[in-house]
């Protein structure tokens, strides 16, 4: 399967992005719970891009590890203001918007691998991976 990319510009794109990820996960025969985890994680990450950065991009890539296990790697990046204190942003309940503060820490709980890079003025990139069970 090929890499898919999509711009995240409006609230509607949050829904489209999570539907696209679910479709790709279903095509790769991820189980229903994992499809739902991935779709929910993407919903959280793309919402952040719309909310904080006003625009961003999602890249969804089917990957294989060294022993041939299949997975989906998803990168959500934006060129927004960046996060001043990543540790604080990863704390449950912390928020600078009208959200719950469960977005980033909650997303980390849902996936197998989670990486966040951000610097003030140059945006935020979150990479997640889920492996097929």
């Amino acid at each position: 399967m090929e890499v898919k990319k999509m711009a995240i510009l409006r609230e509607e794109d949050v829904i489209l992005a999570r539907q696209l990820v679910r479709k790709m996960a279903a095509d790769m025969t991820f189980n229903l719970v994992d499809q739902t985890r991935l779709a929910t994680a993407v919903s959280e990450l793309t919402r952040n891009a719309v909310e904080y950065a006003k625009s961003g991009e999602i890249r969804i890539e089917p990957v294989k590890n060294r022993v041939g296990r299949e997975g989906l790697k998803i990168v959500v990046s934006d060129n927004g203001p960046g996060i001043a204190d990543i540790e604080q942003a990863m704390t449950m309940g912390f928020t600078t918007s009208n959200g719950l503060g469960a977005g980033l820490p909650g997303t980390r709980q849902l996936v197998d691998e989670f990486d966040i890079r951000s610097s003030l003025g140059s945006g935020t990139t979150v990479t997640i991976v889920m492996w097929k069970r």
């Binding site: 609230e11 929910t40 959280e44 909650g106 709980q109």
Partner: protein, 125 residues
Amino acid sequence: MIIPILKIGKNLIISIQIPLTDQQARQFQREVLEEVARTEAFGIIIDITAMDVVDSYMARILSETAINVQLMGTRAVIVGIRPEVAVTLVQMGRGLADVATALNLDQGLAKLEKTDVRKGAGRGS
């Protein structure tokens, strides 16, 4: 109305059949509260059987809506949470806090009759 609100007897039934953007979710919440006040409903059921994703924002809107309705004096039950949605919400560190839930519409309606709103509004069980 963003989501049709049906009045059946003394209760309102609201079935969310489409994914909502954040803005639409806020509109949904506003319209439910207005309709509860307008119809002086005894109870409401919010059916989310069709929702395949409930993320942290939607979870917040749903619990807030139910808690607001209960504060107004009307009973509220959320029904039809799919197994995979429940698993995901719990793993994210959220259930639907302080909200009464039921498996389906039938059991939700039965729960509306049983729920004693005087005993701590918003408590599930």
